[in-house]
Structures are given as C-alpha cells and as structure tokens.
C-alpha cells in the first residue's frame, strides 16, 4: 500500500470506524463470532487494494482464485500429479509477471537489437497492460509462488481455507511491497485470525511505525530532491549523488517495511523484519544477509538452492546467475541486470581473491581491520547504487568512465562540486545527513553490542517518541513515491 498517500489512511479510517464500532457492540451483546475478524481483515485488505490500484486488483483477484483452486487440487494429489500441478501454477504465475514486466524489454531491448525497426514498430502498438507494471504484482506473485512450493514440499497436506488464503496473500500492510512472507512463518498467524488489540501490540507497533515514518518522510524524502542524475562529467558529484541515493533507497524501503511491521503489529501479526541494519555490514556476503531479507531468502530458496542441487561444481556460476536474475527482477532494464551481475561478481571476487586480502588485513593491528572491511563494503554498495539509480544506459557508461579516470578528480571539479548547492540547500541537506548518520550510528551500536534486534536503540521508548515528533516537524512537504513500487 502507498503509505504516503492520504487515500490509504482515509480508507483505513473510514472502514475501521464503522467496522470496529459494530464489532464492539456485537461483542458486548455476545453476537460476534471470532471468524468475523478474518472476514473483516479480508474486506479491509481488499478494499485498500482496490483503492490503491484497480488494474492490479483485477489481476490479483484472478490470481488468488486460480492459485487457491490449484493448491486445493494439488494437496489432494500425490506424486507426479501434485508435481505437475505445482509446476503449472508456478509457470503461469511467472508468465503473468513476465508479460506485464518484461515483454516490453524483451521486444524492444533484446529482439529490437537483432531486428532493426522492431522497437519503433512495437512502441506504436497499443497492447493491454503494457503502460506500466501493476503495483505490487512482483511481490504478491513471489509470495504466491513460494506458497505453492512450500505447500507442495510440506509433509502435512492439510486443506487450506479460502478465507485464510485470501488473508495470507492480501494482508494489507505488506501485499504491495513486501515483506514477502512465507507459509511457515505467516500462515499460522493468519489461520483463525483474530484482532489482538493489546497495549503491548499498540506500543510495539507504534515504535516500528515511528521508525518507518521517520526513515521515509524525514530522511528519504528530504534527501530525494538533492539527487541529480544529469551530472556525468564530475566524478565527485557522481560519487556524491550515488552516496545520497544509497541512503535514500535504504531509508525509503526500510521505512516502508517498518511501517508495514508496525501496522501489522497493531492487529497482532508479526511480519518478518526485512532489513537488519545493512549498512553496518563488513562484507558483501553480510550485506546480502541484511538487505531486503525476504527477497534474498526467496532467491536463495527458490532459485539458488534448486539450481545448485547436490552438485556444487557449478555453484559459483549459479550464485552469479541468481544475483543477475535478482537484479533483473528489480526492473526490466539493462542497468538492473548490470547491478545484479555486479553484486554476483563481487561475491565471487571476495570468494576467490578477497580471502587472502582479508587474512592480510586481519593480521594488521594498526589499521582497524573491521573499519577497513566496513569502508570497502560500503564503498562497493555505493558503486552498486550507481548502477541501480541510473536507468539511462549511455549516461551510466559515461559516469563509469568519469569515475574510473584519475585525471577527472581535479581540484576544479572538486570546487564545482563543493559549490553545487546554494547556501540554504547545503544547510538543509547537511542537517538531513546529520540525522541520517545518527540513525546509522545507532544501528552500528546495536550491532556492536550484539543486541537482540539491530534497531533496539531506535525502538526504545523515548527515541521512538522523538522520531515521531521529528517526523511531524520535519517531514518533506512533497513525499516522493516509494522507490520499490516501480518494481
């Protein structure tokens, strides 16, 4: 759901007031059945989805019906029949995703390269669903695919209720942009769902919500206007804008995920924490265990491990392939493919060349090995973000050329970069960066102290109240769209 859209909060409020009033009265008269809670949750989720995107909702409803019936059938079959049904569902789900997300790219950027004039001819055609990707399609497709596979591999082939399935795939805090929840973690919470409005849930939910709102509306949205893509000639600016984007994307998507966690907590549901302080990582391996956890584990479980199987000979290639596919999932454009391949390549470099370097660094006593590892990792992530943010491929190559040319790091370019923003702009951006650095520092301390949760300090009562107050005071006037909605 688009948490930065007032429409979301209004619909939530306009549904909640009459629904929970009726529930309260009916409960006091002993007329309320527990199962009405599950009906209410489904109604709330579907209503919010319709409000968010009618086109995506239409596809979503068709997919829910198709997936539920097929899983229902699959659970009654054995052996190859069950496998054939599972395979069919997965193929059709992925085909729907591919149609909306990748057909344009495939025709224009792949076939178009081989067949002259095809791209221009294709652009003139009006094909249904080719305008933009229906919001949330990627996320609910992945969740549905995971459910089919997990149901197929589960030992207990229990029947699944239709209402429970609807609530599993449409749960309003996370349906559009994740976390991508798995059957084992999430389905037991959804089965026989009941609203659990306790003080503890409210308090915990509010803390996550405060952190998420602060990250999104104060940090990400106040950084966003300062990122300029049309500066390919000055390496200092190229690095600086990539750095800003690195911060923005984390605070944007981390913020979204934490708002989702907070909202779910209000009604008594625990969602997976999708980010674990990724910018505290001291290696790219560690980074991928902390960044967008539910997507990384999805690719691990449904792409990497099945590809590799028992034979480890080709494992490095499959690792590279998995990351490239993960990049391609982010968007049907070459820059996302490069971004995925870049991260896959980094992991292989660390595997084959990084270990001797790590051993060398680890033996140093004066160089603070942890700090060097962190700085190299963060620098690599910033460079990766350059691939991620720049969808214009020729300009991406121009920027890479600029940052690789040692002569472009001149003092005159540095002077130009230093005076790029006006006085007021520099102060506003500087203040936002101080706040961002403070948040990251508190995450670092949480990790160093090996706390139960990386965000413990930021979720402490007074800090979370301060974050909420700061959100009211400092939220950007014009919220920028959530970056991950494009995916």
């Amino acid at each position: 759901m688009n948490f930065s859209d007032f429409g979301f909060w209004w619909v939530l409020l306009l549904f909640s007031i009459p629904y929970f009033s009726v529930r309260y009265v009916a409960k006091s008269l002993n007329l309320w059945k527990g199962s009405f809670d599950a009906v209410g949750l489904a109604a709330m989720s579907l209503l919010l989805f319709v409000n968010a995107s009618r086109s995506s909702f239409a596809i979503f409803i068709c997919e829910i019906i198709f997936n539920y019936l097929m899983v229902w059938w699959m659970l009654r079959q054995q052996g190859w029949k069950a496998k054939a049904i599972a395979t069919t569902v997965v193929v059709i789900d992925i085909a729907i995703l591919a149609y909306f997300k990748y057909l344009n790219f495939f025709v224009e950027d792949v076939l178009g390269v081989l067949v002259p004039g095809l791209a221009a001819n294709w652009q003139g055609k009006s094909i249904p669903g080719m305008g933009s990707i229906p919001p949330g399609l990627s996320f609910y497709t992945f969740q549905m695919v995971a459910f089919v596979v997990d149901s197929y591999t589960s030992r207990k082939k229990r029947t699944i209720g239709a209402l429970d399935y609807i609530n599993f795939v449409s749960f309003f805090p996370q349906v559009v942009a994740g976390p991508i929840e798995r059957r084992a973690d999430f389905f037991p919470q959804i089965e026989s769902f009941r609203f659990k409005f306790t003080f503890e849930n409210f308090e915990t939910g509010l803390r996550w919500l405060s952190l998420g709102l602060f990250m999104k509306f104060v940090l990400a949205d106040n950084i966003s206007p300062y990122i300029k893509l049309d500066q390919p000639d000055n390496p200092w600016l190229v690095w600086f804008f990539a750095f800003l984007f690195t911060l923005q994307i984390y605070f944007d998507f981390g913020g979204y995920s934490f708002i989702a966690v907070g909202l779910a907590k209000f009604v008594g549901v625990n969602l997976t924490i999708n980010f674990l302080a990724p910018y505290t990582s001291q290696s790219i391996n560690e980074f991928w265990r902390r960044w967008h956890v539910t997507l990384s584990t999805w690719f691990r479980d449904y792409v990497f491990l099945p590809l590799m199987g028992k034979n480890k000979t080709w494992a490095p290639f499959y690792l590279f392939l998995t990351f490239t596919l993960s990049g391609f999932w982010h968007g049907a454009a070459w820059n996302f493919v490069f971004w995925g391949a870049y991260h896959g390549l980094l992991l292989l470099i660390i595997r084959y060349a990084g270990r001797p370097f790590y051993k060398f660094i680890g033996q140093q006593r004066l160089l603070m090995p942890q700090f060097i590892s962190w700085a190299l990792t963060f620098g690599s992530v910033i460079l990766g973000c350059l691939f991620f943010m720049e969808t214009n491929t020729p300009r991406l190559f121009a920027k890479l050329q600029t940052i690789l040319n040692p002569w472009s790091y001149s003092l005159s370019n540095l002077g130009e970069a230093m005076s790029f923003f006006s006085g007021n702009e520099a102060i506003a951006l500087g203040f936002t960066l101080v706040l961002a650095t403070t948040v990251l520092l508190m995450e670092h301390i949480g990790v160093w102290q090996k706390r139960e949760c990386e965000y413990d300090l930021l979720l402490s009562p007074w800090v979370s109240r301060a974050l909420l107050a700061l959100t009211v005071l400092l939220a950007a006037n014009t919220p920028s769209p959530f970056i991950y909605f494009e995916f």
Binding site: L305, L319, R355, Q364, M368
Partner: protein
Amino acid sequence: MQLKDSNSKPSSSNAVDTIQEWLVNQIAKQLGINAQTIKVTEPLTRYGLDSIDSVTIVGELEDWLDAELPPTLLWDYPTIEKASQYLVNEAGVTPAETTNQTTEVTTKPQEAPKEKAWGGLWNKISGS
C-alpha cells in the same frame, strides 16, 4: 534426525561443545584461516563465509552427524554458537563422539586474541 546411542545420552552442553569444535575446524579449513581466530559468537559472514561455503559445510555436517539438516542452517543460525545450540537443543541431534567420550579435540574454540593498539580500541567500542 537421528540420535545415536540413546542409552548413553551425553549432557547437551557437551554435545554443543563437540559440534562447535567440529564447526570451528571445518570452517577454518574451508576458509583457510587459523581456527584460533574464530569466535563462536561472531557471525560467520565476518570470516568471509558465503552461500556456497554454507551449503557445503551443512552437507559435510550431515555426513558427520548422519542426520538430515536444512541447507539454510547457517543462514538461519548465523553463528557457530547458535547453529550448535539449535542442532542439540531444538533439532535433537547429538554427535556420536560425545556418547562414548572419545573425541580427540584438535582445536578448542577459543576467544580470538585481543587486538592491540587501534584494533583493541575498536574491540572495546564494539563490545566484542
């Protein structure tokens, strides 16, 4: 999961220690680092363990324990301490060596030597 020789079930802490020792040695061998420097409480990614190593080591652990284990074990329990505790206390796996107390431990997991100078300062700051 298989429990070996249930008549002489060892204490769970002994089993946890044995698995920790095995993991320390195996990870040191896999990554080509000194076993003495591996701390059981440190996330394994800090030593450069990647996805391929994780799956490989779990495969070898399965052979050693003669038990079926989830390939994602070292993702779900990312330190040696957590993985060992999960195996013994939750999965109910016990290494055969602990039942007859004949294990020759070649390398006992030890605290990494405290770093001096700035490295030591860094450790103090990080609380490790």
